[in-house]
Amino acid sequence: MIRLHEVHKSFDHRNVLRGVNIAVDPGEFVFLTGPSGVGKTTFLRLLYAAERPTSGEVWVNDMRVDDLPLHKLPYLRRTMGVIFQDFKLLKRKSVLDNITFVLRFHGIPPREAHRRAYLTLKRLGLQHRQSAFPDALSGGEQQRVAIARALAYQPRLILADEPTGNLDAELAAELMSLLCDINYQGATVLVATHDHALLESIPARTLVLQRGVIAYDGIWPP
């Protein structure tokens, strides 16, 4: 599902990743952790090809991402759902439209897109906010809309960048439960977080990124 081989990434001579080697199998639930600024977001961006590695190979869903032609990027990105740290919601669209918008561009007919969007919102307890615009939502609600958008088209791979950063403990637990459900249904889930409480809540494989390398790979706590 995901394979990184000797991946290096540097910005202005600052080495963020220095020879990362990992493999994630289909259906795995994996945490990626490490201190703030260690390169967790960069790691995820390499997976959805928002960044190219300085060197090394990145494979996602049987596609080599590091030298993927630009015109093939959409087809890679359609195989994954990304929950962004900064949500990336469309301010001019309602909550429901933020989700149907993506579904429609995935070729799903309007009625079915609306049905799926509504069901996903309901699953996240946001159905009563479907007509609201993002600016009228709290940080937690915005984060749940971003999660709903990533889940709505049922991707095989979910990449989540600090998905519980704006949620209280109860909502964070609900979200993790949701991600576990999705993982149980067969999707691969990779969650980047620095929240140790979150890591301890679910016994899953954890990758610890430190000084640009994977310093630990196993169940957390060690």
Binding site: A50, R78, F84, K88, V102, R104, F105, P110
Partner: protein, 285 residues
Amino acid sequence: MMRQIVSEGWGILRSRAGVSIALALALAVPLALGGFAVVVERWLAPLVATEAHAEPVQVLLRPDATGQRLQKWVDEQHSAHPKWQIEVVPPEKLADRLSQWFPYFRRIMDRNSLEIMPPLVEIVAPNPSALAGLENNPAVLAVGPRSNLGVLLRSALTRVRLVLGMTSLLLFAAAGLLAAVWVHLEMYRHADEITVMRLVGTTEGAVRGPFLVVVGATGVLAGAVSSGLTHLLTIWSSGVLGILGLRPPVVPWWLSVVQVVAAVALPTAAAAITLARHATFGIEE
């Protein structure tokens, strides 16, 4: 997918209705001018075709150039200029011809014998200005006007076409540039949407599609407005020409089609180039 592209395009169009209408007008004015130039040209064309026939230049000879002398002079000119068609004006038509130059000649000729009048020949030459050389001929008293109304009209028409065409072209190019700049600005305005569209796997066509829909719809509006303006200009000029007793100009049926096609094609091409240059898939989002 197509419905979604159209729907997104419609959303942009609705949110920027004022700018879209201004852009449509900016496109419509040069197209209407160009269309009216076509109408004027088609109206003038038969007139120019009629008048474009080479007109004879009248050459008045000395009164003693009659009989054999006249024939000899004609033969000399024929051999020197084989392409000239030289015709001696018969005495009975002399009064008509000469009175064109001097109206009082008719009265003189009515009272006197035609024999007192100098002979007149009419020469049709491929290049009438070449007849100026005859002014130095000892047998020639005068050479008539060598300019041709058809030539003048054609020259005037060429200038009118050039001015209207260049003006339309410049305005049209400016409107195309305006469309490209507008698309560029809209892309910045919708940068967040474009970023999200790309991150969730939207294809390049779907990213660019809504902008092309907006520009295409604006082009259709511009085409319709330009066609309407051309018709209005034609109706107005028909009124003016009607007062002068001239036949009215007509807008050809295909002109509206050409105007709409041009109004859609130019901004769409400008938008497509702008999108290709500035909305390519960046790796850095």
